[in-house]
């Protein structure tokens, strides 16, 4: 029982990341009709917002203390982060919570990047075939990757979770199962965070006038335009919103997966499978498929399952995608007419 619950928890935090990336992907596809292969790069850029914020907090003063020497005979360098020297305990607190605080940097940065990307490049490809869109956005992803590699290097840069959430949560105790069911705090927080972001995006689209117009535009772009609404401008904001979602998902994932320039590509492929399984352009489908595939992947990595079908953990997602597309060609919640031309 514990093993099953653990795999469900494990699948939920993975599924959270898949769902957040797939949500942005399908939002862009549903509104703009663009297959954005640079979306994984936006996830990676978000993660590097956390790295940048942490680097800024780590700027330090160096004072040589001649009274102490190192083991190799040179005077000891005493290093103090400026932030802690300036702000004392609050500086140390800020340092400890650098990952969640870097969301404050990531939101405006990702919004600007998203809008510039859409206005500067993507909009020129609205009426071009999907193959052209894929080529140009894939090329853009490679350019972004190489820029990050140039400035941050090719190696993963670990980002610590706040001390208070770096340890283990004894989830079993809540259900009276003792300490047998334990799970890292940060992964639980990531899952809850992903639920919060997904809820906020749905609430924005469902309960605001702006969201209502966007949804109407997704259904019938021309009619909304005829009503005198500048739907293109709204869709630009939607692109910005999708990149913010990908970005904050990347920020919060850094304590789980140390970011490197290539991390977006690893998630992009899986997220596309999630979008296809969920149904192209379906927000609910993307979220449901994200969590479903995350949990299935987790179960497939149990030793008991791998003993029966070796290597199943590496292919389960693609296998499920094949089965679902054979039985439900539009995916789990796909709408009629989307990507069927």
């Amino acid at each position: 029982m514990d093993a099953i619950l653990l795999q469900i928890l494990n699948g939920l935090d993975k599924g959270g990341a898949y769902a957040l990336i797939a949500l942005g992907l399908t939002l862009v596809f549903g509104t703009l009709g663009v297959v954005n292969f640079a979306h994984g790069a936006l996830f990676m850029l978000g993660a590097f917002c956390a790295v940048t914020f942490n680097k800024l907090l780590n700027l330090e003063s160096v004072v040589i203390d001649p009274s102490q020497t190192t083991a190799w005979g040179t005077p000891l360098e005493v290093r103090t982060p400026y932030i802690e020297a300036l702000l004392g305990d609050f500086g140390a607190y800020l340092h400890d919570y650098s990952v969640p605080f870097s969301i404050l940097l990531a939101i405006p940065v990702m919004l600007i990047i998203g809008i510039v990307m859409e206005r500067g490049l993507i909009r020129h490809f609205y009426k071009r075939p999907h193959a052209d869109q894929i080529l140009v956005t894939f090329g853009l992803a490679i350019v972004i990757q190489e820029i990050i590699k140039h400035f941050f290097g090719a190696n993963p840069i670990p980002q610590p979770a706040p001390m208070a959430f770096g340890g283990t949560a004894y989830v079993g105790e809540i259900f009276g199962m003792g300490q047998t069911l334990a799970y890292p705090w940060w992964r639980i927080i990531y899952f809850l965070f992903s639920l919060g972001v997904i809820g906020a995006v749905f609430a924005f689209l469902q309960f605001t006038t702006y969201g209502m117009v966007v949804r109407a535009g997704m259904r019938d772009r021309e009619t909304v335009g005829l009503l005198g609404i500048d739907i293109e401008r709204r869709f630009t904001v939607v692109f910005g919103l999708a990149s913010v979602v990908a970005g904050v998902a990347g920020v919060m994932y850094t304590p789980i997966l140390p970011p490197d320039y290539h991390m977006g590509m690893e998630f992009l492929v899986l997220s596309f499978v999630v979008v296809v399984v969920g149904g192209m352009g379906s927000l609910g489908g993307a979220v449901a498929a994200g969590f479903l595939l995350g949990i299935l992947q987790s179960f497939a990595s149990m030793n008991e399952v791998k003993a029966i079908i070796p290597g199943i953990d590496q292919i389960i997602i693609y296998l499920v995608a094949v089965v679902i597309l054979l039985t439900l060609p539009r995916g789990l919640m796909g709408r009629k007419g989307v990507m069927e031309d």
Partner: protein
């Protein structure tokens, strides 16, 4: 009576015939003049060494430290700086004026912790840059691949950090030499220490990096612990370079195992150990015993990456900068003054390999590869940080002491993370070279 008359034409004919007659034997002995030529022997006033080091990928931290060590070694070989371990090495033929009077030049390439990139690098350095010797690498897969290439090209490979039994076992090569210890020696050294610390009734679960080093490390640890009475519950392979080990760690929690053995190195180990601790493994009690984690191959660089998770963890190490011998002190001082941090075991082994190759050339009196191989085979030396050491002729593996280490509970600073628990002597770590099979192959000189 006939009269001998030499005409001008006759003289020319006789001269030509004599020339042909005298030159004919040269056709049969011309190889005799080429036999002292091997690949990339230096013609000018420099000799080029090639470093193939992983500057990216899961072993990048080790690779960066290796490159620093090589650069320091070249400095010392050329007579610059304080000489590092050259004055402490015994016997030493090095004079501090380059090698055989030629200044040492160097080239390097990023092997990316990938075998194909490592081979491409090495081939480029041999063919384009004229490297006479290749060294470096932090992965056994790289070492095995590159030493095989070097065997084919007739260039000596002084491997860096490689710990698989295969490097000097089934995949050993005449042109390949390893100073670093191996997985078998880790098992022999570590087994008795963890059996004493954790008892003989234990159930172990292995997570193993899925390539040559991981396989032999797992095999050696299983052999060592099972001989002491431990049971192996499961051994699960993980892809090299995995960042998220959660899917491999969760099955451990309910497997009935009370020890997790992480046959991981570099960033893999940093991630798997940190995540194991996050999953609460070290706080667990299983089978009435405290759950323990063991990392058979350990380094200061990994300890820095893993932070507090490393406290109390047992492992083995080839060398540590805190050893109390003159050679270690001299190297730590040189390295620390140059780079502001103490050297890692990866840096140490690479520095030593560069010195040993240069010294062998001096002792052989030539750069001719077969002669240098002969000079290295069976060479007994001291004063390079591991005590009395033998470069064993049968498998080109160094026989020397190694260390059992433990993550320090109260480190003084970020470089003081490991405590030396035991120095396991050479007599204990020495084994029969026949147990791992393999053939060294020929030492024929090649021209490239």
């Amino acid at each position: 009576m006939s009269k001998f008359i030499m005409t001008r034409r006759g003289l020319l004919r006789a001269g030509a015939a004599s020339g042909v007659a005298l030159a004919a034997p040269m056709h049969f002995i011309r190889g005799a003049y080429a036999e002292d030529i091997s690949c990339n022997m230096p013609k000018g006033d420099t000799v080029t060494f090639g470093w193939s080091v992983p500057l990216t990928g899961p072993y990048a931290d080790e690779g960066a430290d290796e490159l620093k060590a090589f650069q320091l070694a070249v400095k010392h070989l050329n007579g610059e700086g304080d000489g590092g371990m050259i004055p402490t090495m015994k016997p030493a033929a090095l004079k501090g004026n380059g090698v055989l009077g030629k200044k040492v030049a160097q080239v390097h390439g990023d092997s990316q912790t990938k075998t194909d990139a490592a081979r491409d690098n090495s081939k480029r350095m041999i063919e384009r840059d004229g490297a006479i010797m290749i060294s470096g690498g932090s992965s056994s897969a790289e070492a095995v691949a590159v030493q095989s290439l070097c065997q084919d090209m007739g260039v000596i490979h002084m491997s860096g950090l490689t710990h698989s039994n295969d490097t000097t076992g089934k995949d050993k090569k005449r042109y390949g030499f390893r100073h670093f210890f191996n997985a078998y020696q880790s098992g022999v050294a570590l087994g008795p220490v963890i059996a004493e610390a954790y008892g003989k009734d234990r159930k172990a679960y292995h997570l193993t990096a899925d390539y040559t080093w991981g396989w032999t490390q797992e095999e050696s640890m299983k052999a060592a612990t099972e001989a002491l009475g431990w049971q192996t519950v499961a051994a699960v392979r993980t892809p090299l370079g995995s960042a998220d080990f959660s899917q491999y760690i969760t099955p451990v929690l309910n497997s009935g195992a009370d020890v997790l053995i992480l046959n991981h190195y570099g960033k893999d180990m940093v991630n798997s150990l940190t995540q194991s601790v996050q999953f609460g493994l070290r706080d667990k009690e299983v089978n009435g015993k405290k759950f323990e984690i063991v990392v058979p191959l350990f380094s200061e660089l990994m300890a820095q990456g893993a932070g507090d998770a490393v406290k109390g963890i047992y492992g083995t190490s080839n060398w540590d900068w805190k050893l109390d011998d003159d050679a270690t002190k001299a190297f730590t001082k040189s390295f620390g003054q140059e780079y502001g941090a103490p050297p890692s075991q990866a840096a140490h082994t690479c520095y030593v390999q560069a010195l040993l190759y240069a010294d062998a050339c001096e002792r052989a009196g030539t750069f001719f590869a077969p002669a240098v191989i002969k000079a290295l085979e069976g060479f007994e030396f001291d004063g390079l940080g591991n005590g009395s050491t033998l470069y064993r002729a049968e498998d080109h593996q160094c026989m020397k002491s190694c260390l059992v280490v433990q993550g320090k509970e109260n480190p003084k600073d970020k470089y003081d993370l490991m405590e030396i628990v035991k120095v396991v002597p050479r007599e204990v770590t020495t084994y029969d070279p026949a147990i791992f099979g393999g053939e060294l192959g020929p030492s024929d000189a090649k021209q490239c």
